[in-house]
């Protein structure tokens, strides 16, 4: 039976995806409608986190400004719908293209630097767009503005929460499959190689800069889709979606789930969204009235996770069955 699944990780992954697949049904059954929103939110953050894991876990690019693409994707769709263009295909095409172009331009500059400089310059670019968003008086500035839902076909609108849920689900699964094929392809190997030893990769003759830039653009474009889905969920766009804390949150999701595992981003996103909802409730039980201050607990918890639980939840699951042979690696393997 266990041989059916390549390794424990794939087993867990399948179960998680199965849960996500039937969640709307369960929500209707239990009449807990808010589960729709929770599930969609988890999956949208998951798409963003997984895209960040591509460059962070496999390319070693610690971007501290990844949420900028959530904002850029969101603004693309919000602004188009503001002017009455609600065609989903067009909207998402613009969002993807916009994010890819921005990633290409900024990535070309960011990747000239490395280490701390890379962290800070990605942060700086995201701050730049954040302030641009605040300056857009036409689109509510600081307060944001209402966004109509994308319509793909007549009657197929992301305003329908079931459609939005499954579109997000399909995008997430597609991203996971696509990226796991990619990180194990030649391209992915070069990317991982330039993370573990860039000088050596250059010496063999690989233009590592170009490979990293392509990965950076791809990650930005994927995250832009997440942003587009996010404004469809919230029906609202504000610069706050690309605040630097959002970028920090995405990093937190990856580290909680497990760096360089791709699916760890999904686990981390679920943990993040669920702690946002349930931690206040739990804390209120232990210490009434302190629930709103859940970050007082989450902050130190995060420090402990970083210090002592670096592999993350999904990363701690062994990638082979006990006593079995090593399965084809789905993990990044850079430690």
């Amino acid at each position: 039976m266990t041989r059916l699944f390549g390794n424990p990780r794939i087993f867990v992954l399948m179960i998680c995806l199965l849960i996500l697949a039937v969640l709307p049904y369960v929500a209707t059954l239990l009449q807990q409608e808010f589960l729709y929103r929770v599930g969609t939110r988890i999956m949208i953050y998951a798409i963003a986190a997984v895209s960040l894991d591509l460059i962070l876990g496999f390319g070693g690019m610690v971007s501290f400004g990844h949420a900028v693409f959530i904002g850029l994707g969101g603004y693309s769709i919000g602004i188009l719908s503001h002017y009455g263009i609600t065609n989903g295909f067009l909207q998402f095409a613009v969002a993807i293209a916009g994010c890819a172009i921005f990633a290409g331009l900024t990535g070309a500059i960011c990747l000239r630097t490395g280490g701390l400089y890379f962290i800070m310059i990605t942060l700086a670019f995201s701050q730049m767009l954040y302030y641009l968003g605040i300056g857009l008086e036409e689109f509510g500035g600081d307060d944001g503005f209402r966004v109509e839902n994308s319509v793909f076909f007549p009657g197929f609108s992301l305003g329908n929460r079931l459609i939005l849920y499954y579109v997000t689900f399909v995008v997430l699964v597609g991203v996971l499959i696509g990226l796991s094929i990619m990180v194990n392809s030649r391209f992915g190997m070069v990317l991982r190689g330039s993370y573990s030893n860039e000088r050596r990769m250059k010496a063999i003759g690989f233009p590592t800069y170009r490979y990293k830039l392509v990965a950076y653009i791809l990650a930005g474009a994927i995250c832009g889709v997440a942003g587009g889905l996010f404004v469809n969920l919230m029906n609202f766009m504000t610069p706050a979606y690309m605040h630097w804390e959002q970028s920090g949150d995405l990093l937190v999701m990856i580290i909680v789930g497990g760096v360089a595992t791709l699916f760890g981003g999904v686990v981390g996103s679920a943990v993040w969204v669920l702690s946002e909802i349930f931690m206040p409730i739990l804390i209120d039980i232990v210490w009434p009235g302190m629930g709103t201050n859940w970050k007082l607990v989450f902050g130190p918890l995060l420090i402990l996770i970083v210090l002592y639980f670096k592999r993350g939840i999904f990363g701690s699951i062994p990638d082979r069955w006990k006593g079995g042979h090593a399965a084809a690696s789905t993990s990044g393997g850079h430690h």
Binding site: R112, A124, M128, K295
Partner: protein
Amino acid sequence: MTWTLFLEHTLNGLQYGVFLFLVSAGLTLVFGIMNMVNLAHGSLYMIGAYAAAWMFQLTGSFFLALAFALPFALIAGMLIEITTLRTLYTRDHLDQVLATFGMILFFNQLMIVIFGGGSQMIDMPSFLRGQLEFIPGIPYPSFRLAVIGVGILVAIGLFIIITRTRIGMLIRAGASNRSMLNALGVNVRRLYTIVFGFGALLAGLAGTMAGPLSSVEPGMGESILILAFVCIVIGGIGSIRGAFVASIIVGLVEIYGRSTLKLALVEVLGQEAGQTAAPALASMSIYILMAFILFFKPQGLFPARTG
């Protein structure tokens, strides 16, 4: 813009730059010497400001507040270093970013729990409340002048300490080869703790002086922290001189940007849109400047020649 207005903006820019320097000096020292990204530095700025606000509300004296806030920030910094950050020195930047991000979440929330979400007040000392006309025709708030003065004194003091004293020599030695210094019998761990505490003290000083000019509130550390990071990156990480030059540049760009852009944008976009857009675009201009500088000099203006 008239000549006097220009001078006034220059002074405002200088004052803002000096603030940035006080925060970024600690940041760049910690990074240059310990190779450590410390996002919690902004929290130390906030802790200093809150300590000062608490003391001020108790006694009503700015100087007592300052005298309380400085050692408080110093000790808080050392405690943070000893309990948590010390273990992070050998980790990669991602771990450092995330762990100190956790600290930010914690401290911001802690301040909300202790003091509430509202802002706290610190008044400036009475003898600095007026205006001084040290350039004929341009009256300028004395307190802001004092801030500029303190900042410049700190910059000179730091420069002397780093280049002329024994501890400065140890700091530089620790930056270039930590294990060698350790082998020579210097207690590098203690040195790091001292340097960290000193950086915290400077952040606390900046926080206290920010009290009378802006509000003391949760999250006040982050906006200045990000700008301070911009300064140390532009200046070249680890370089005090770079941090100083970059801080002044960033301060001036921000203030000039705000004032001139406002005039220009109000012309183009109309009163209301211009009023909103100008500060946002001025803030943007700093990041554009940073991208521009890093494009040509990926290591910043004054790359520190340390290992």
